[in-house]
């Protein structure tokens, strides 16, 4: 162990603390993944890792950051887990006996290598995103265990009270344990569908931050940052998978517009009106090659996330709304309809057709879509196209319908203008 906090000594105290907390958080996640496998009990593993993390935050500023933070945390958390198991066994000896290997206070002493830790992380990903858990539970578990947020931080990120979130997480861990949600990578047969659930959960985290349906703000950047962190982890764990590559590109591209999406007063700004110099061009530069990579990984049947990222890239690379290559966007939407048909995709396709070929062609497609009568953007799109065709009365009626459906406050403000 070094005698001074290496690398952190020259920083301001609050920066040093933040850097330390980040090290503990990332290392803690790796340790949790392994400890969950060793103990077969996610709740117990989380308690042990949380205890070890607190101890690290207390002692490292004084004693220095250890040479291997992961090894330090793992040793400390393992010791804590053994204590917890022994205490439980002493308190309820009969139950301990019945639960068998769960309470065997024998944990491997040897640290796993980095490859094993990566495998453990992937197992944990599949456990937290198991289809037998409710989507909102998967989101909360992913933030808690895969992103390493505290229960309080998860509650704040998802706009629920801390007791509510604590209860939801406790129930989820109990279900994982007693219902036997497995801690392993699914069989080759189940893997594609299970991985889709993992990606969908990650996209839900992003979308909750990017297009918040609740609360006064249009975006919640902290949640977007967590989604990005999670997607980078997924891409690292399965680099040959087109979905995670496409999802990473898509999130980077959509989030690259964040600064331009709201005006000084916090109101929403439509894509057509955004100041494109305020887009995050570093994120765009990272994302565009990923789009190509995603297409290379799924040439015959492009992955839906890759196709969506290709559409987002067309926007990201266009100098202005008018100079956008709408014909290219229209044909990408046709590919998307082929691999992932749905009413919202049809609506977006119709918007692209309206720009590429004219409002009447777009409106015909919009009117042909079934199942979006409760979706405010369907009415808002009709209103905009009707207005361009000088059918103002019908446009006003469509606007009224759009306004009477639920939206977050910023989106409502946009419809009101």
């Amino acid at each position: 162990m070094s005698t001074v906090p290496s690398g952190a000594s020259s920083l301001a105290p609050e920066d040093a603390h933040r850097a330390l907390a980040e090290i503990v958080r990332v290392a803690g996640r790796d340790v949790l993944a392994t400890l969950a496998r060793w103990t077969g009990n996610l709740a117990l593993a989380e308690d042990a890792v949380q205890d070890a993390s607190l101890r690290a935050l207390q002692t490292w500023p004084r004693d220095g950051i250890p040479d291997s933070p992961v090894a330090w945390l793992r040793t400390t958390a393992r010791r804590r887990a053994v204590d917890l198991i022994r205490r439980e066994a002493a308190r309820r000896p009969k139950e301990a006996l019945a639960l068998g290997p769960l309470t065997d206070a024998v944990l491997p002493e040897e640290d796993p290598g980095p490859e094993v830790v990566e495998d453990d992380l992937l197992r944990l990903v599949f456990t937290c995103c198991h289809p037998s858990l409710a989507p909102e539970t998967r989101v909360a578990l992913a933030l808690r265990t895969l992103c390493g947020l505290s229960t309080e931080e998860v509650a704040r990120a998802l706009l629920v009270s801390e007791p509510t979130m604590a209860k939801r997480l406790t129930r989820a861990r109990q279900k994982i344990r007693v219902a036997g949600i497995p801690y392993r990578v699914p069989s080759a047969q189940d893997l594609p569908e299970r991985w889709d659930t993992v990606l969908a959960t990650t996209y839900l985290v992003f979308n909750e931050g990017y297009a918040a349906t609740a609360g006064p703000e249009l975006t919640r950047p902290a949640l977007v940052a967590e989604a990005l962190r999670l997607t980078r982890l997924l891409q690292r764990l399965r680099p040959q998978d087109p979905g995670s590559t496409g999802l990473l590109a898509l999130i980077l591209l959509q989030d690259s517009r964040r600064a331009a999406r709201t005006d000084a007063a916090g109101g929403a700004v439509l894509l057509a009106d955004q100041d494109r110099t305020r887009w995050d061009h570093t994120a765009i530069a990272e994302a565009v090659p990923l789009v190509g990579e995603g297409l290379r990984l799924s040439p015959a049947h492009p992955d839906p996330y890759v196709v969506q990222s290709a559409i987002a890239a067309c926007h990201a690379l266009a100098p202005s709304w008018d100079e956008t290559d709408w014909a290219a966007i229209e044909s990408w939407y046709e590919v998307l309809l082929r691999v992932d048909d749905g009413p919202v995709v049809r609506l977006n396709h119709a918007v692209a057709v309206a720009e590429a070929r004219g409002p009447q062609q777009g409106l015909d497609l919009v009117d042909a879509i079934e199942g979006l009568r409760e979706y405010p953007l369907w009415h808002a799109t009709r209103a905009a196209l009707l207005r361009r065709l000088d059918r103002t009365d019908e446009a006003a009626a469509a606007d009224d319908l759009a306004r009477n459906l639920p939206l977050n406050a910023v989106q409502r403000d946009l419809l009101d203008r």
């Binding site: 019945a98 037998s132 279900k175 036997g180 569908e193």
Partner: protein, 115 residues
Amino acid sequence: MTQYAALIYGADNDWTQPQYADTTAEYAAFAEAAGAVIRGGAALYPTSTATSVRVKAKGGTPLTTDGPYAETKEALTGFYLLECADLDEAVRVAATIPAAWDGVVEVRPVIEFPM
């Protein structure tokens, strides 16, 4: 001789908790008194631990949702006791029970009380 399954509807409690010891003891007393006719039975963990499984058609991919099947049209009508390695295996087996395409099968873990 015919076997019967007695399905118990009541409070959605976690019967492993100590405050339900009296109720558990009453069930133990019932089980002892009726021991001559009881062939099998189980106490279940709360509905928060349940997974519902269905398939679009026989042999289809299982679609799962969190929690019990709550709609009132169908009520719990029977149960199999399955011993599986984990929930994935249990879901695979449950998806082959006819009710999976003609209703819904709820997979819920069983409490193993210490003897």
